[in-house]
Symmetry: C2
Subunit: 564 residues, 2 copies
């Protein structure tokens, strides 16, 4: 680290419901200013369709409003700190949800900002948890299995309905006018940096390997995006789109651009400071939580994203059901390994808010009551699949299951069973990684649930049988983005030349640590075996499981016919 | 019917939470007076143990208070009707829950009335839904399979924890002092008539074949109760008890006794009028609903009891999983066939009151919302086993299951799925009966749920694919008991000589009839097939179903260890 005195960076974190900006001291990672802007549109920022529970979009205008508001707010707060000066901001980093692609016009403007497309759901941003493209995902998987199995190896063997190509293809089918009007498509993680850099043509967007490699089947191994021929097999229009996208995606060892004059003026910052490569919230969150080889980072919020890294110089095997292994996606020089669970906080929210019709107070009450129960005492067991299964089974159309109810089963017992279900899901992912020699020596948790819910963390420790450590920062994605900005700026500007050095100074562990109770862990070993039986049967892992393997799907087929 | 002018009888119906008396006109079954007395003890009349959800007892003192209060109330109301006179009451009939055995002292007094035993749970009446004797039931089944398989044939192949011998044997194990102090044991259905008849020694109680045949393995085929040797195999103390019970049980073609002077004075009735043979609520309920060969009566309340009858002159086969086939148990001259579901209204009550924390208004709201859903549209499927499975699997330790939840699943959808689950359970019972050639030409429903919940009845029609007729009387068990009293009095006294003749005049159908919707029925045909897969897998019907067959039991074992 160079000696020019104080240096600061800004991390901007685009979540599902809001955007948060943080001004960070490069010396120790301390936050000097934080501001959150809730997206103004839709239901808590999400555009829903009452007729289709799979649809989840966002208004791109919210991203721009949120950028200005949150960064201004964080800077205003930092201004009150002694020793801070906007002149000493040396870089900006951005992380976002993903895969959240949106269509652009030829001027790098979101189509949805054009009055012609403002009311078209397909012209909005397709939020990560949009599941409308299940058919397309299945067809992509099927086609790749037949013609290009190499595309599936690094993504766990199954292409997801949450991802880039599924969503764009679905747009092409349901809203061909939007598809035709789009000059290009961009992941939100690449879009925001391109806006800050003043990019006025989609061809000039610098694309990060994080979104490209994890969601768009990009790999240098086969020359970038999937081949034109492969995309034409799906739909010739997708083949044509390929030429308007990109040929190269980059790791965070280069910047996405430099701050454009208009944004520098808006924020009172120096023009030309670097904008770090955009990445997904989980990836920069892992950086902010101190990920390193042997550390498994769990970002636990509405859903959970798990991140590990492995030495980039050794070839590591593909891991079935692990949804992404991409060189350089988390930090340059390492394989980024991503897994996840589709509903964690959302599962508890479903129970407390939709079913039990409660609010925060009921969350707290059920959590307290559930904490008094002993492992196994409810006789309940649940599958955590109310929003599908993202890792291991990679099937967004699986559904939830609860078994063991009596006439005396309470809602607190079910609450705890749902927490346990997500913990079993988490343990299944760790077991799968260890089975493929990804070392896991410590688990560091961050995210809203990890911050707030002690019951949850203790159940995880007891189920997984390892201490649950917590990250020192309550906003690890924004901190990770700020770290990426410090690395983009480099040591000479007051930042760092390497992520490892930046993490060493800018990240800490939190004081809260949850240690497994051996007796509870022994009970959970047995319950986990039962969970495994339900998982493998209803998840159709084994062909010998009989008819139940397809039961959830047959229920969905009946549902679709009934609603048709 | 003779021509002495007006004649009336009294039916007294002992339910789970209250006792109801009805004064009925023998000419047309019209109720002239009705009174209900809620049991004063426990939680809505049931003595519970917070440490053991399987325990359900009743205070025998409540039965005596309830008898006096309800009969006096019904008579007082009838007194206001023109043409009624207490002198023209020609008989009394009694029905009760069962199997609800209670221990007696040598003077035919319930042990629990003795201050020495007042606080002993084992000295109380063991309510039908007490499930503490699961181990004893399993041992009785196992011993009978080995040594006396004939005992199991008429009761579906499995002896239940809800039944006479299981409960008494459990008492002998957990409260040997109570067991030793008991001069005899009696079913509530036989006890109340014996009280009205002034019986002062348990040996003088006239026992009905309904309780004996359905719950105590009584059959004339093997000389009455199970042999002393068989009972000694279980426990020599049970063998000794056999000698203090009874050798003969009777069909309702004879009376249980005549009204004792003290009760005649209490009620202002004639001394010496006949008291009909006591029977279970479902059996006399079926009589009151107009049961005949080809009519399937469903008494739908907290649980459901199904009653059919078959010609008593033809030998009918034993039906696996159907819990009782007893000559004369419903009406003299016919086989009485009994089946049932352990939780129906209770299942909805669990959902609405315990989980959703609502009251009557929420029952109505969820029922209205659920009625707007189409068959199959929720994507949910449930097993109705929160209180075990009484018919077909005959396993009180099975538990509930719900599958198909998403993050958008509402409590109204779950409410409907639970209603559907009980309808699938009902259809499984009908299918089993038809498979064994019990003719089912019409279904007549009665009981609280059938009276009140139109959604419920329509779902049943749609699932079963037959019209759901309703009984004309809202109180069929009490009406059936009153019909039995009219038959006990006989035509010469102003009653009837045969049940069929009495039913012809005294029972009607209600105006509410629910006709299947063909489209919904087609969807339910498919859902019923899926229900069958869950049923057979988790109910361990097929040995090839793998580990899931024991999953519910392994969860319970974990639960018991956790709570130990």
């Amino acid at each position: 680290m160079a000696g020019q005195g104080a240096a600061f960076t800004i991390g901007v974190d685009y979540g599902t419901n809001s955007v948060r900006a943080v001004v960070v001291d490069c010396a120790d990672g301390r936050a000097l200013g934080t501001a959150v802007c809730d997206y103004p549109s839709g239901t808590e920022g999400v555009l829903l369709d009452p007729r289709d529970p799979h649809l989840a979009r966002q208004n791109p205008a919210d991203y721009l409003v949120g950028l200005t508001t949150s960064v201004r707010g964080a800077l205003a707060q930092a201004d009150t700190e002694t020793g801070f000066s906007r002149d000493r901001i040396i870089g900006i980093g951005v992380d976002t949800t993903g895969s959240t692609p949106l269509p652009l016009d030829g001027g790098n403007r979101p189509l949805a900002l054009d009055p012609r497309w403002r009311d078209s759901p397909a012209a909005q941003a397709w939020l990560w948890k949009d599941h409308t493209a299940a058919e397309e995902a299945a067809a992509i998987t099927e086609t790749a299995r037949r013609c290009a199995p190499e595309y599936l190896s690094p993504i766990g063997g199954t292409y997801s309905s949450e991802w880039f190509w599924s969503k764009i293809w679905h747009c092409r089918k349901v809203a061909p006018d939007v598809f035709e009007a789009a000059a290009s498509w961009v992941e939100l993680a690449d879009f925001v940096p391109s806006v800050l850099a003043g990019v006025t043509h989609p061809g000039d967007i610098v694309r990060g390997v994080c979104a490209a490699g994890h969601k768009a089947m990009y790999s240098e191994g086969w020359g970038g995006l999937p081949s034109r021929e492969f995309l034409c097999l799906l739909d010739p229009a997708l083949g044509r789109l390929r030429d308007r996208l990109y040929t190269k995606a980059y790791s965070a060892d280069r910047a996405a651009g430099v701050l454009a004059r208009e944004w520098a003026e808006t924020f009172g910052l120096q023009t030309g400071i670097p904008i770090a490569m955009g990445a997904f919230d989980a990836h920069y969150g892992a950086v902010g939580a101190g990920v390193r080889v042997g550390t498994f980072v769990k970002i636990i919020g509405t859903s959970t994203c798990d991140i590990a890294i492995a030495d980039g110089h050794q070839r590591i095997p593909d891991i079935p059901g692990i949804c992404g292994i991409v060189p350089g996606s988390v930090m340059p020089g390492f394989y980024g390994i991503e897994a996840g669970q589709s509903a964690v906080g959302d599962l508890l929210r479903w129970w407390v808010e939709l079913v039990c019709q409660g609010r925060e107070a009921l969350h707290a009450e059920l959590s307290r009551e559930a904490a008094r129960l002993r492992a196994g005492a409810s006789g309940l067991l649940a599958l955590d699949w109310n929003n599908g299964n993202r890792t291991i089974l990679v099937d967004p159309r699986l559904t939830g299951l609860i078994v063991g109810q009596t006439l005396h089963t309470t809602r607190a017992e079910i609450y705890r069973a749902l927490v346990e279900a997500t913990a079993f899901g988490a343990r299944a992912i760790i077991a799968r990684m260890e089975q493929y020699d990804v070392p896991i020596e410590r688990v560091v948790c961050c995210g809203g649930i990890a911050e707030k819910n002690d019951l949850f963390m203790q159940v995880y420790a007891d189920v997984i049988g390892m201490p649950m450590l917590t990250a020192g920062s309550p906003q690890t994605p924004a901190l990770g983005a700020a770290i990426a900005a410090a690395v983009a700026a480099g040591a000479r500007a007051g930042g760092y030349d390497r992520f490892e050095a930046a993490q060493q100074r800018m990240t800490t562990l939190g004081a809260r640590t949850f240690v497994p109770d051996p007796a509870a862990h022994a009970v959970y070993d047995e319950l986990f075996a039962l969970y495994g039986e339900l998982h493998d049967t209803f998840g159709a892992v084994s062909a010998t499981r009989g008819n139940l393997a397809s039961l959830m799907k047959r229920l969905l087929a009946l549902r679709e016919r009934a609603l048709a």
